[in-house]
Assembly symmetry: C2
Amino acid sequence: MTSVDEPARPHGNGRTRDAARTRAEILDVATQEFARAGYAGARVDDIAARTSTTKRMIYYYFGGKDQLFTAVLERAYGVIRDAEQQLDVEHLDPVAAIRRLAELTFDHHEQHPDFIRLVSIENIHEAEHIAASEKLGRIGSPALDVIRRILASGQESGLFTAEVDAVDLHAMISSFCFFRVANRHTFGALFGRDLVDPAQRERYRAMLGDMVIAYLTAERATD
Amino acid sequence: MTSVDEPARPHGNGRTRDAARTRAEILDVATQEFARAGYAGARVDDIAARTSTTKRMIYYYFGGKDQLFTAVLERAYGVIRDAEQQLDVEHLDPVAAIRRLAELTFDHHEQHPDFIRLVSIENIHEAEHIAASEKLGRIGSPALDVIRRILASGQESGLFTAEVDAVDLHAMISSFCFFRVANRHTFGALFGRDLVDPAQRERYRAMLGDMVIAYLTAERATD
DNA sequence: TATGACTAACTCACCAGTTCGTACATTAGT
DNA sequence: ACTAATGTACGAACTGGTGAGTTAGTCATA
C-alpha cells in the first residue's frame, strides 16, 4: 500500500529529516484512515498516531484536515489517470479496444477499493474538496480521449450504431465497475451475493464487456 | 418530506403527547441529517434541534445514534420495496417489461437522492447497520421476483440470449441508476457534465433501457 | 362523573471523553 | 548563523450519552 521508498536510516534510533518522505507517509496513512471511516469519522490524532511523525507535521505540511483530504484525493485521482495513460489500444479494432478499456476500468476499481471509498465520501460532501483543488480541476482523463477516438472510428465504419458520446459511455462503464466495489456490502447483505467474489470475477468482467459492446452495436429502429 | 399527519393542536402553546408523531418526526429529520453529513458527520444535537422535541427523546425512542441510523435505513429501504411492489408488468412482453422495470429503478433513484446517499454511507460502514437489523435481513426485493419471472419468460422464448440471473441483472440496472445520482458531484466536477440535469433525463433513461435490452437480446457467438 | 393511581411521554441540566487546532520550544542540516 | 523540519503540551469547543425529575393522558372504581 505504501508508495514510499524508504531509504535506509542513517542513525539507529532517530530518522533523518526528510520532508518528502514525511509528507508521503502522512498521505499514505491518511488515505487509509479517510477511506476507512469517512471524512468526519477519520481522526487527525489517529492518523498522526499511525505515522512515525506527529500531528503537528500534518498541520505543518497540509494546513488542516480539509486540505489533507484534498491532497489524498489528488493523489488517488492521479493514480487512475496514470493507469489510463498506460492504455494502448491503437492497434485494436473498435470492439476489442472498447472491451480492453472497460476491462482496465474494471481492474483498476477492483484493485483500488480505497479509491472507490474516497470517491463515495467526496460525493457525500458534494465534491467540495475537488472544487477547492486547482490540481483536480484540470486533471483531465486520458480514458476520455481514448474513448473519443475509438467511438469516432467505430461510428464512422458503421460498426457502432449507438449515438453516445465519450462522456456518457465513460459513465456507463464506470457505473458498473464502481457499483460492484462501492456497494459490495449492502448488496451482499441484502441479496446474499458478493459482487467482488474472486470466483465470479471473470463472469462480471465479461458481463461488462458484453453489455457495452451489445449497447454500441445493437440494431436500432430506423426512425 | 414529512410523512406525519399533524392533527390540530388542542392547546395553543404545547403539543399534545403523541409517541408515533414524535418518533416519525425524529426519523424524518434524522434521515435528512444523516444523508447530508454522513454517519459520523451527523450530530445528534443538531437532529434534536431541528425537531420539535429534545435530544433525550432520541435516546428514549431509539437508544442511540447507531440504532437511529438503523431505523432510518429500515424506513428508506421500506419505501423502495413498497414502490417495487406497485410494479405491474405481467401484461407486457419481456422486452417492454424489463424496460419498465429499469425505468422504475431509474425514477425511484432520481426521486430519492437521500436514499442513495444513505446507501453510500452504509457501504462506507460495511453494512454493519443492516447486519444489526432484523427487519432488513428479511426485507426481500419484489423487483427480484419480477425480474426472475420476466427473465425466465424471455429466455424460454429464445428472445433473451444472455445467460444472466436475476440478481446480476438487478445489479446491472441498479449500477447505472445509482452511479448517476450518487456520483453526480464528482462526475460533474471532473467531466463538466451534470448526470442529473433534467434536460438530459430522457436521454439517460432511454440509454439505460437500450443498454439492458441490447445486452439481453444480443447475438452471441455459438460456442 | 369525580377521583386518584399509574405510566408513557417529555424536559432540563449536566458530564466525561474527544477532537481539531495552535503556541512555543527545539533540533538537524547546510 | 540560519532556516526548514520536528516535537511537546495544552485548551476551547464540541459530542454522545445520562440522571433525575415532571406532566399529560388513561383507566378502574366509587
